[in-house]
């Protein structure tokens, strides 16, 4: 393998053909188009009592598209495992993927189609309603708001809207808002010339400088990045990659960094430029334009980071590293100068190339050459809201997103919904948005669904990741694609001709048919049926060889506008909860019960405050405070968090539901309420531009923590807990 090759190849070698892989091959059960529930005396051949059957599918708890293998026993899904051959996650799963079964079997799922007011309707009535909506509404009055997954539905909806002449569907969600995908895409286009999300191959980087990218929590493709992180640290004998993180709040990713630089919010771009200039100086090269324009000493002062540290990082980058990766992401892109920061950081990658370092940036080739329907920017959603408010939207279809909860109240989505005469939600849960809808036509959860996801980031090759039902639907739900197709057929005419699919499976089969002709895939099939079987059996289609190649960027101009912030005392960082994500999984009890990595808090919303700031404000652990921003106010419980700037507080997103189910409802607070509706230059939400005031309420609420407060803050700190680690370095254990 060449030095320039991509790491996941050796990971594949290491993984070998494990036991799970063998199990996947036996999971060739559902050749039939639809799974049927069998009585025990008439079990299908593959479902022996007491014998596990494994089905490969794809995780839809976030848009990354990790491959899963689901263990089922007698028709029940028992355990989710990672698909060891899947190019994205290579057998690993995150906590959210693990807990997906609790979504499937959640007692608070919507159990059947409903009308406003909770009245149950039949699926025929539901299809009639959708057909009527499609038929009777002028095309420009129809709007689709979809989540980032699944791609097949987005593509189907796109075809329908095209046939109707309606505006294309918008894909958005809370996570998308926090990831600022558009910002990153635009910056990538500028620097690397490709309008797509770049993937940073940290696995073989010697130095990773992450500017706010929480790539091991929720950012873009966390499992793929975590896998690469493991390889970066100890995957290559004799070489250990080093991570530097620049962000105001120590995220879980930053907590693993060798150096955390809590730069003043909004100055991260300058830090990147200063680092570039220092590196160029160390390398004895004249720094190109945007880097040459900054004075590192001045930047260090401005950003409140020690210049010496920056110099050390620069020296390490130039002298000790063969490859350096700089990643922009997370909160850093959420300032109103986020687009500049993204450009500055990506430009740093380009500069590395100029300094003779190997590039570790590549773009995942789109599966079948077709890029998935890109997510909308915040700006696009804002214009949809404006249209709704203006009464220009007569029918709104919502799938895979919970805008009333996930979008800032300042955007006024809920108010705008009231102006839409017909709102149809396909949510699997009675979420916040479902309260505003005319019809609630619950979709299956992904474990009961067909579909595919075109992997956009994190994989080194084309990946079309497949969904298949692993169990029969638990409730009286129906695939949204089937509902839409049935409605389309009901409407008939030109529409039915333009969208000629009988059902979802046929649509998917048509879409994947082209891959059968490819001879670079992991399997070849002589006929469509066999191809379909292989497709499901392997959990999708991808190429045998990694095809993504590192790209070399060019240094671009970077604006140096200062970030603007709202009025207030403290910067506010809102970040997706590492476990609950954007909150759509807040009703999964084990995700609530899994301790947050940094705080070990479960089941509630906390606000992270530096102990020094807390002392100034007279706050203690477990005090309830009121956080007031210009846009709203929430109450949250204080967590004294040593890893945050004293002028910053942070609140995780994901709790504070007013609906969704027994475990999510009335729990914690939703910090999105504090955010404004402003955007950065790329049109993404400027969610980090908020400053807040914190008021003591006098009330206290004991946070459910796994840690012991006294042990980790108080007396326990005197105990050298790492003494054994220190010992280990000298005395080798003997078995």
């Amino acid at each position: 393998m060449t030095r320039e090759g991509l790491t996941r190849r050796d990971v594949l070698k290491l993984a070998g053909v494990g036991g799970v892989a063998a199990a996947v091959l036996s999971g060739c059960g559902p050749l039939a188009k639809h799974v049927r529930r069998h009585p025990y005396h008439d079990m299908p051949e593959y479902a022996l009592p007491g014998k596990s059957v494994y089905f490969a599918t794809t995780c839809r708890e976030c848009p990354a598209g990790c491959g899963l293998v689901v263990r089922t026993v007698e028709g029940r899904a028992i355990k989710i495992e990672g698909n060891p051959n899947h190019p994205v996650n290579r057998g690993a799963t995150c906590a959210r993927g693990q807990a997906a079964l609790e979504g499937l079997y959640n007692p608070d799922r919507t159990r059947g189609p409903k009308q406003r007011g909770g009245r149950e309707i039949s699926w025929d009535q539901a299809v009639d309603a959708v057909a009527a909506a499609l038929q009777e509404t002028p095309p420009e009055g129809i709007a689709f708001l979809l989540g980032l997954a699944p791609d097949h539905l987005a593509e189907l909806v796109y075809e329908i809207t095209q046939a109707l002449g309606a505006p294309p569907p918008l894909r958005f969600g809370g996570l998308a808002m926090m990831e600022a995908r558009e910002t990153l895409t635009q910056a990538a286009e500028a620097v690397f010339g490709q309008k797509a999300l770049p993937t940073f191959d940290i696995a073989r980087a010697d130095l990773v400088i992450s500017f706010g990218a929480n790539f091991m929590e929720t950012w873009l493709s966390p499992v793929a990045y975590a896998k690469a992180y493991g390889a970066m640290r100890q995957g290559h004998p004799g070489r250990r990659g080093v991570l530097v993180q620049v962000e105001p709040r120590m995220s879980m990713t930053a907590s693993n960094a060798d150096l955390w630089l809590p730069a003043k919010p909004g100055t991260e771009g300058l830090v990147a430029l200063a680092l570039g200039r220092l590196m160029a100086e160390v390398a004895g090269v004249e720094a190109p334009a945007p880097f040459a324009d900054v004075d590192p000493a001045q930047v260090a002062e401005q950003a409140e980071v020690p210049l010496a540290k920056l110099e050390k990082v620069a020296r390490y980058a130039v002298e000790k590293s063969e490859s350096v990766v700089a990643i922009p992401g997370g909160v850093v892109l959420g300032y109103d100068n986020g687009a500049d920061i993204a450009r500055a950081v990506l430009a740093l990658n380009a500069l590395m190339g100029d300094l003779g370092k190997a590039s570790r940036v590549f773009f995942t080739p789109p599966a079948g050459g077709q890029a998935p329907l890109p997510p909308a920017s915040f700006q696009d959603v804002r214009s949809l809201v404006d249209r709704m408010k203006a009464g220009k939207v007569q029918v709104l279809f919502i799938h895979g997103v919970n805008p009333v909860y996930e979008l800032p109240e300042a955007l006024g989505f809920a108010d705008a919904l009231l102006k839409v005469p017909l709102v149809i939600s396909f949510s699997s849960f009675d979420d916040e948005t479902a309260r505003y809808v005319t019809y609630h036509l619950p979709d299956h959860t992904f474990l009961e669904s067909w579909g595919y996801q075109r992997v956009q980031v994190g994989a080194d090759r084309e990946v079309l990741s497949a969904f298949q039902p692993v169990v029969v639907p638990v409730f009286d739900t129906r695939a949204t694609a089937d509902v839409l197709l049935a409605a389309v057929q009901k409407v008939g005419g030109a529409l039915a001709e333009a969208v000629p699919y009988k059902n979802e499976v046929e649509f998917i089969q048509k879409k994947v048919a082209d891959f059968r002709g490819r001879n670079d895939g992991i399997y070849q099939a002589s006929n469509p049926k066999l191809f379909w079987a292989f497709f499901l059996q392997h959990g999708g289609w991808w190429t045998k060889e990694a095809t993504a190649e590192p790209v070399q960027g060019k240094v671009v101009k970077v604006g140096t506008d200062k970030a603007r912030f709202s009025q207030g005392d403290l910067h506010l960082v809102v970040y997706p909860h590492p476990l609950l994500g954007d909150g759509s999984q807040a009703n999964y009890p084990w995700l609530q019960e899994t301790p947050d990595p940094m705080t070990t808090v479960m089941w509630n919303t906390w606000v992270e405050i530096n102990p020094m700031t807390a002392a100034k404000l007279g706050l203690e652990n477990d005090d309830v405070v009121r956080i007031v921003s210009p846009y709203g106010a929430i109450e949250a419980v204080v967590y004294l968090y040593p890893g945050i700037r004293p002028d910053t507080i942070a609140v995780p997103m994901g709790q504070g539901h007013t609906a969704l189910g027994r475990w999510a409802k009335d729990r914690g607070a939703n910090p999105v309420a504090l955010l404004g509706a402003g955007t950065n230059a790329a049109g993404d939400a400027a969610f980090a531009g908020v400053r807040v005031r914190v008021y003591k309420t006098g009330r206290r609420h004991q946070l459910a923590r796994k840690e012991n407060v006294v042990g980790v803050y108080g007396d326990g700190r005197r105990i050298p807990v790492t003494k054994h680690e220190a010992e280990a370095a000298t005395s080798k254990h003997q078995e």
């Binding site: 690993a92 959640n106 590492p578 020094m612 040593p642 459910a704 803050y713």
Partner: protein, 239 residues
């Protein structure tokens, strides 16, 4: 020895590379989903009654701005000289000869909780109440793992049900268990491959190779518990 006559004892060992571990807690959820670990809700957890078999210990180190965090996944260390075992009056926790693991016999447990007091790793949890999985949430309960009722202790088993199934499978196919074939839920889920599981008796196993590392240590080894979890110390580059 691998490829031997198959009558050799297996000795299951876990290696946790703290340098790879990023503290993400996926192992915690995976463990809970595999082993039917009950969730207890906010109040009980705030009271210190979480049922987690596996927890990721996190320590804050240093003062602002030189704050550092260390993670350490901690579960039952399957000690060879397990302090929990001899104190149980009814042999509810004991050493299995076949797997050389520290096993907890739920049916035998009468709930003295002595084992939990005597565990230096605080690895054991107690069923304070009967916990529920409201229907249909109980559909995902693993049929291979007993659902525990109130009044008994439980703890990490190294996913013994997987070990048994893997060994049976290998025996049925007339071969040795392959390295990496048997994985507990935590190791399987671990996104950074920090947790590696395998047979110590197999000299070519990954665990055996990893354990050669200079970074290897056993937590609280000075107590003589001879844990079967080997940690590899994390490294930090100091800037």
């Amino acid at each position: 020895m691998a490829g031997g006559n198959g009558h050799e004892h297996t000795k299951w060992v876990m290696v946790i590379d703290l340098d790879k571990c990023n503290g993400c807690n996926a192992c915690v959820t995976a463990c809970a989903m595999e082993n039917n670990v009950a969730f207890t809700g906010e109040e009980e957890n705030a009271y210190g009654r979480g049922m987690h078999w596996l927890r990721v210990i996190r320590y804050w180190e240093g003062e602002w701005p030189n704050v550092r965090v260390r993670y350490m996944p901690m579960m039952c260390q399957q000690c060879s000289n397990a302090p929990c075992e001899p104190v149980c009056p009814v042999f509810a926790t004991l050493h299995s000869e076949a797997e050389e693991l520290n096993i907890q016999v739920y049916n035998r447990c009468i709930g003295t909780r002595y084992c939990a007091n005597n565990c230096p790793y605080i690895a054991r949890t107690f069923n304070w109440f009967d916990y529920e999985w409201p229907e249909p949430l109980n559909f995902h309960l693993n049929p291979d793992v007993t659902v525990r009722r109130r009044g008994i202790m439980e703890k990490c088993t190294f996913c013994i049900q997987r070990i048994n199934q893997g060994e049976e499978q290998a025996a049925a196919e007339g071969r040795e268990v392959r390295d990496g074939e048997i994985q507990p839920a935590c190791a399987q889920a671990c996104p950074t491959e920090a947790i590696v599981f395998g047979n110590w008796q197999d000299p070519n196993s990954k665990v055996r190779q990893l354990a050669q590392s200079q970074r290897g240590f056993k937590y609280l080894h000075e107590l003589g518990t001879e844990p079967k979890v080997i940690y590899l110390a994390s490294e930090k580059h100091d800037f």
